[in-house]
Symmetry: C2
Subunit: 635 residues, 2 copies
């Protein structure tokens, strides 16, 4: 059935079966959804919408016809009129494409009203569907900029969605012999430039498209010279999470002609935008070749279709996508693809943490069906047993407390997203328990990343979510955290005698404020430096970690000088966002159902190979550590 | 360097370095060769030609400028004038594209003359380069038709060769990171439709392109829906041997737009043309869909560049091809590819016999360099131990002799190429030794295939070659063999009381004269039937082999009747043209050098897997049994 025929059938079905008289003005594909526009959308009961969805096996949305919507300015006035002032409304965000208005307020209960009566009143008055949410505790520039883009470009975005919708629902002739294969364009037997290219006779799907920021030249980017790769043929791009080794090249795809959808969780969309912009800025500053511009990042945002965990979505004629929590960073997802009506199911873990952290729930390990799995292997080697998290936290707080006691400063160079927020939670608790008494300064990208975390409490661990939502006790807002607002501010912190903790980017001392802090604090033996992440060979961080006591550097005036390293240097491995070997094997053990084929990627060659061989012996399944440029048939 | 620049440099080099005054009229790429046309080609010494080849690393040929060649008719008269009549010249074949004339005679010594004086005289008189050969003992329609095509279409062929030459020598930018991968479009974990697609960043090469005649529909043909396959991008097609599971689809490539070279041995070119035509005839007769026509077979012939064993040839900018004897059937080759100046070497065995047969030498197992090997696995399973060849021959002759003694007829359904000629050699010896005394009738394609065998004595085993060339004692010409010339002739053989042996196609009683003989001879218990090849499930042969004593068939009038099977039924497995498991493992043991990667193909799934796993354990190398649609990176 062609897309047009399907729309016609749905329309006829509604007219035939809907009790009451719906004025339907349009039925359209918009991205993966079928959207019904009506002048009286309230006539569609949820039961009836679910019925249509079931009959046609499509995601269905019913929206008010734009002609009945009050114009946003008048509508906002109306809302402020209806809702009591005590609610403290901070913003009303109108989404023309969905007919929804997000009402941000400090007391969303007052926007809802008793038994939802206030909401009903709003809806009647302005026709927009009101969505009350709590005002995000920390404003995020990234989220605001994305919202502004989506609003400004709403007409173009609607066109994009309709084009995508028609492509997803295009007519294909299903043949008997359906094969499925995955080509590895990058990130196989290596970490960095992850790019998986899934192919069926009908479809082409890119899952992650990263860059390796640690190397220069061609090897920084995936193998786009893989013969089967064709940018014109891509049906969809799916992104597991915001780390650049998974999403760094996505805007580049748009630069080179891609014009289709990008599917990911909403936090991934925001965080990846933040990181892509940061990557461009740094690369430009360092005079490196950049494969795209901010224009391409914006294009990417406009083509992104956010997907909630657990919601199944058509992304190509025979392919359905479901995202599941991966436990790695905010919004990180396991990608589950269901190919050809129940025929074949494959999941790709992206990066996973199979253990509850303070910030996130552990990765999902149960799926309705599963024939093949692609799993990460960062810590898949025999020796890759990470220290216990609880002990690590204790050790961490001990170092902090002792340094503070001797009037020193604690410098923690850290990656902005994930680990920084995890440490904030540990520090907040330690501070509350009186283990130390000193301010925690947040510098670099950390504050903005934290803002995005607080905007999506539903993606955080249950305990943090509860604290944010129900108890009004948001740990990220603790008085112990101070944002470093300016270079001046930073200078003052460095120069002052006040003992303090400094959480700052970059994590490997390769640039950003952490280098500045290091230079200033290295000489004083009262200070401590704590590494909590991997230090790559060749970085300043690695040298310090290895125990260099004198480090030659080039000053701003071009002259070389020597930094004496007198501060205490510690390395704590137990905060990793990745599963260690035991957790990876436990993940396979708990996995339900157990797939017949398991492919190991995202790790040094020896770790992928070792993990594959161990898993083969333990679980008696076909396992493999593919190479870049291998195409592996999975069905 | 561009192709044009290279030609210019070669020309300048010759002018600068050739002693004497050569009149060069043209320097051109023709296929893989650089051809120098000169009005006085005799001035080029072999030493000088070798020097040019070495300096430029190209195959060099020097040919007379067409303007100096005597026209073929006058030239033929001249030859007959110069050569003594006793030589019995039977044909002069002029090849305008090479400036050569093949002089076929019964006594080639007389064409050569004392110390080559007669040859010299001919050359001086007509300018063509004379190549004296012995008149083929049996005329081959296939060879004559091919020669006629090549002569008639010589102008077009020269254009084809020049186009190919320019493509081979095109300018490519070699990057540092050269990868090599092989995609399996067919023949992986199966027998039939073999098709390997080798890719480098610059080149695409198809090695074998077969069909599976045992199945119908899509599965009969390779997976041309493999995403990286692109008919426009193919640089070269290489064919290992003439069996349809390796070459059956090659004319189809031309049908669908391929326009480049096909490399194979000269006997493979002739035998594959014979078999492709036969396939078309049978398929049309049975009303099956055929993927190409005789026009495409002709196109394929015109694009075929024959390669001798052991001669290294450029077939793409960074790829050199060498063919080596595979011991399987006449002209069957192991394909050795040398990629990117010494960088990487891969060999593909095609089908191999690693044991001397009466007809052929065993497969070559030593290569200058070898990093990866793709090997067949037809008999790679644990149980696949074939009976000893010598014992099999004895048993075979015993059955023949006993059947003849009791006045019976021996029916041997056999595949026309290879096994038929092998049995002819056994029968010829048995007849000479007086083990039986009865005629051997050859029906179906066998006679024509035998003619092609005798045209290429240099491809046969040393002992047979010596008999044919030096002793004038050609076993295929033995009086014991009688060609069945007509349906009438066949009828007479069946009706007569004379004991005899009948060697005839098809080998599985699926069509051809063998079915007719079987129907007529099945009822008489004095007769014997000997199966010497694999009988596929579902064929009449399989039923008889399994011991059915009553077989219902549909007669020509559409009525069904029952054939009573009273003749003796024997199966002899020891005549296989494939290596059995022991020979395959021995091949790997003798292989020099031992490659790091070995891929097992061309066998049932369990046999490929079992062979791969055994080889891995024995030789500690990476082995694998890829699937169709897998793309395996080998470097
Ligand atoms: Zn990650
Ligand atoms: Zn990663
Ligand atoms: Zn194993
Ligand atoms: Zn064969
Ligand atoms: Zn074969």
């Amino acid at each position: 059935m062609s897309a047009e025929e399907l729309l016609k059938e749905i329309k006829e079905y509604i007219i035939r079966n809907l009790p009451g008289n719906a004025t339907i003005t349009d039925v359209q594909f918009e991205g993966p959804e079928v959207v019904i526009y009506s002048k009286n959308p309230e006539i569609f009961s949820n039961t009836f919408i679910k019925e249509i969805a079931k009959v046609f096996k499509k995601r269905i949305a019913v929206r008010p016809d734009p002609s009945v919507l009050t114009d946003p300015e008048t509508a906002k006035d109306k809302i402020l009129e209806i809702v009591p002032e005590d609610a403290e409304i901070t913003d009303c965000i109108f989404d023309v494409n969905t007919g929804e208005v997000i009402i941000e307020s400090k007391k969303p209960g007052l926007v809802i009203g008793k038994e939802g009566r206030t909401l009903e009143e709003i809806k009647k008055a302005i026709k927009w569907a009101p969505k009350p949410v709590r005002t995000p505790p920390i404003p995020s520039e990234t989220i605001n900029a994305i919202r502004a883009t989506l609003y400004r470009e709403r007409a173009e975005i609607k066109e994009i969605l309709r084009k995508i919708g028609r492509r997803i629902h295009r007519d294909v002739q299903l043949k008997g012999d359906v094969w499925v294969r995955v080509s590895f364009l990058g990130g196989a037997r290596e970490v960095g430039r992850t790019c998986n290219y899934l192919q069926t006779p009908e479809c082409r799907i890119v899952i992650d498209c990263g860059i390796n920021i640690a190397v220069e030249g061609e090897k920084a980017f995936p193998h786009f010279d893989t013969p089967e790769f064709s940018i014109e043929e891509i049906d969809a791009v799916v992104v597991t999470h915001a780390h650049l080794d998974h999403c760094g090249f996505v805007p580049g795809l748009f630069r080179y002609g891609y014009d289709g959808p990008v599917y990911c969780s909403r936090p991934t969309r925001d965080l990846m935008t933040l990181l892509q912009k940061d990557y461009l800025e740094i690369a430009e500053k360092e005079g490196k070749i950049v494969p795209y511009t901010t224009k391409d990042i914006k294009k990417c945002v406009k083509h992104t279709i956010p997907i909630d965990y657990g919601v199944t979505t058509d992304i190509a004629p025979t392919v359905k996508l479901t995202l599941h929590n991966a436990g790695h960073i905010l919004g990180s997802s396991i990608v589950h693809l269901h190919i050809g009506d129940g025929l074949f199911n494959i999941a790709y873990t992206g990066d996973i943490k199979f253990e509850a952290s303070r910030l996130l729930e552990p990765a999902v390990c149960q799926f309705p069906r599963l024939e093949a799995l692609i799993i990460e292997s960062t810590y898949g080697g025999q020796e890759d047993i990470l220290p216990d998290r609880e002990k690590t936290e204790k050790e961490f707080l001990r170092i902090v407390s002792e340094t503070i006691k001797r009037k020193g400063k604690v410098l923690i160079p850290v990656f902005g997203i994930g680990r920084a927020q995890e440490l904030m939670l540990v520090l907040e608790e330690g501070y509350n328990q009186g283990i130390f008494n000193a301010p925690v300064y947040l510098d670099g990208m950390i504050w903005e990343a934290t803002a995005i975390h607080t905007a999506y409490p539903e993606y955080l661990s249950k305990s943090i979510r509860d604290r944010i939502l129900h108890e009004g006790d948001n740990p990220f807002l603790s008085e112990v955290f101070k944002k470093v607002k300016s270079t001046n501010n930073r200078r003052n912190i460095i120069d002052s005698d006040e003992p303090c903790i400094i959480l700052t980017t970059s994590g490997m001392l390769t640039g950003g404020p952490s280098v500045e802090y290091f230079k200033a604090l290295a000489g004083d033996e009262r200070n401590s430096l704590i590494f909590v992440g991997y230090q790559a060979e060749g970085t300043l961080g690695r040298k310090v970690q290895k125990g260099w006591r004198e480090i030659p550097i080039t000053g701003k005036n071009g002259k070389s000088k020597v930094i004496k390293v007198n501060l205490e240097v510690h390395t704590l491995e137990g905060f990793s966002g990745h599963s260690d070997r035991r957790q990876l094997l436990k993940y396979l053990r708990k996995l339900k159902p157990m797939p017949e084929k398991i492919l190991m990627v995202h790790g040094e060659a020896s770790k992928c190979v070792d993990f594959a061989s161990t898993a083969h012996k333990l679980f008696k399944k076909e396992t493999r550590a593919p190479m870049n440029l291998d195409a592996v048939r999975v069905r």
